[in-house]
Symmetry: C2
Subunit: 370 residues, 2 copies
């Protein structure tokens, strides 16, 4: 149903996407192709603050477009509808979204809901025949992750996870330098990730919804970062939990966890995940011939970094814009990213997370088999 | 060939200490007073490379003077005699140095020998009625340290340990800021200390002489630093050892140890000690309202540091010069240093070292009672 209002909204939204295009050239919301090929048509599931950030960033995408929403809150749906010109037929709630199966305007669903809901939601999306993009952590443990991978395989859809740092230019430059041997043999990685969390009632502090505390939310950057910075998968993990506030951080919700990883080459990582310290967003990679340092290392940017050779000067890009365009190329054209972002990659992080939680509980070194 | 000295020198802007000092300006040996009071007359035991550095630095002391030497190598003694104008009657070897008891030109003996020899040597010095200054680590375990403290107490002499960073201006400024609450509640300390060690035949890689490997030599800076930076003594420790070269780093000689400390306030420390990584000399202190960072943090200087308020600009001082002058004031005038440097202080580090070794062997969290 087209109205003048719809048209004007379409015009506004589209102008954000292609500000230099004339009105005749504007793509309709559900147009499946533009000059340079097909676009990935994405429905976002869960309309919280990070989803809003993704939607805004997608307005600058050239290969991905927001075409649908899934939410349990009707008022959010209507806000998004008008903001992003989403037709009613592409709007779903958590009861009826399996019907997305018969919607030709949606190629993939980006799940941006609490961690504890990912598994069941992803399996339903897969069963509906749509590609699954899932925010990280992919799930709350490896068993759930494996179920998601199996479901996507069975449904013949792809499963990608929202590792936005895998596309960040300064991160990629450090990875390039490491691969080129510019740092020499890599010996040590340090990842310090954390902040002081506010509102104690948020889902991130609810064990059932979050699957844990800081580690699931922010510590995962150090886990994942240790792997792409060192370029290996760890073979053991040790971990120590510290809790100073048992009211805010209830049973199973970690406040601060230090963890250490050992890698096949003998390199080690020393990491910290916390919801109780300010300003921790630091990576440090040390090799025999050089080093790289990032601070901030995983925030929304700009990322700052330098190596023994000097400052990294790549311009800031909006992470979520690049991520969604790259995911479009991966899903539609089979592009291989420099650092994988598929379910198997995410499963490794979940296995490490399982190991960290086991190590904090048993106090023992946990051998990892990724 | 890499040695510890090479590494620390790399971090030193001015290797030659006071190159403009003429020989006429050098204080004569055995001078017992200057304008501002009595001088501490020091004999150095063990004439290796660090002892040479101390002797050079002492040429600029105003309160301490080198008056004697103890060595097992006659050629070293004669070199030092001519270089520092030391009379033959103030020269001893390891067999006869107990006779120092009747030497009125010596107030204190600075023991700069391999760690495994400290205990017996310190006890002999104490029995000779001279103050003991001992290079760190004070000994190779807490039991030895306790014996040294007891011997000094019984002999009514003082026991000081060569914690030169306790007098370093940028370090002291950070301690002042922390005490003044400028960083808010302290949550986290990180100490990364290490270098790639060279010559595999050196005593620092000999378990019997060194008492361990990197931890005794360089990791102790992170141990001690965690305490003076956080301002508390730890209550638990966990640790993980990694060895990639079992030829160079034999049984009981640690190559790389990661260790974590927990403090009564809930603050935690994450530290690394290594003989197999380049350029690790970094401290980072994080509080609710600010942070401090040092890099290099414990080399011979200049130390570089900044806080959230900006760069620390205190001028470089030769650590060993200040240390020896301050030790003179402590021993002769009862001055109280900002951070203690006595045997009891050093014993705490030894207890932590014992805990770290126990933790690497058992894989368990070790509760500390300092």
């Amino acid at each position: 149903m087209n109205t003048r209002r719809d048209f004007l909204q379409k015009l506004t939204a589209s102008f954000i996407v292609f500000p230099s295009l004339s009105s005749e050239m504007l793509p309709a919301a559900c147009t499946t192709t533009v000059d340079d090929g097909p676009k990935l048509r994405v429905a976002v599931m869960g309309l919280g603050s990070y989803a809003s950030r993704v939607a805004e960033a997608m307005q600058s995408c050239t290969k991905a477009v927001l075409t649908g929403v899934i939410s349990g809150t009707p008022s959010k749906i209507s806000t998004w509808q008008s903001k992003y010109n989403i037709p009613a037929k592409n709007c779903y709630n958590y009861e009826n979204f399996d019907a997305i199966k018969s919607n030709p305007d949606i190629d993939a669903v980006y799940i941006i809901t609490p961690n504890g809901l990912h598994k069941d939601q992803a399996i339903r999306v897969a069963k509906a025949g749509k590609h699954v993009i899932c925010e990280k952590p992919m799930a709350i443990n490896a068993t759930e992750g494996e179920a998601m991978i199996a479901a996507c395989k069975q449904a013949n859809v792809q499963l990608l996870v929202g590792y936005r740092m895998h596309f960040e230019p300064k991160t990629l430059e450090i990875i390039r330098m490491r691969k080129a041997g510019e740092f020499g043999t890599i010996r040590f990685f340090q990842g310090l990730c954390g902040f002081r969390i506010g509102d104690p009632t948020q889902w991130r502090l609810n064990k059932q919804l979050a699957g844990g505390g800081s580690l699931m939310d922010i510590g995962i950057y150090a886990i994942n970062g240790s792997r792409y910075m060192i370029g290996e998968d760890p073979v053991w993990v040790t971990a120590q939990e510290t809790k100073t506030d048992t009211v805010k951080f209830k049973e199973g919700v970690d406040e601060t966890i230090q963890f250490q990883l050992g890698f096949p080459s003998g390199a080690v990582a020393s990491c910290l995940s916390t919801y109780n310290m300010n300003g921790l967003d630091r990576f440090y990679l040390n090799g025999d011939n050089g080093y790289a340092e990032m601070w901030p290392s995983t925030g929304y940017g700009p990322i700052m970094g330098h190596t023994n050779k000097g400052e990294l000067t790549y311009p800031h890009v909006t992470h979520q814009t690049v991520q969604m365009d790259e995911m479009a190329s991966i899903l539609l054209q089979g592009k291989q990213p420099i650092v994988p972002i598929n379910g198997e990659e995410a499963l490794k992080d979940l296995k490490i997370i399982d190991g960290i939680f086991a190590a904090t509980q048993t106090g023992k070194k946990i051998n990892l088999k990724l």
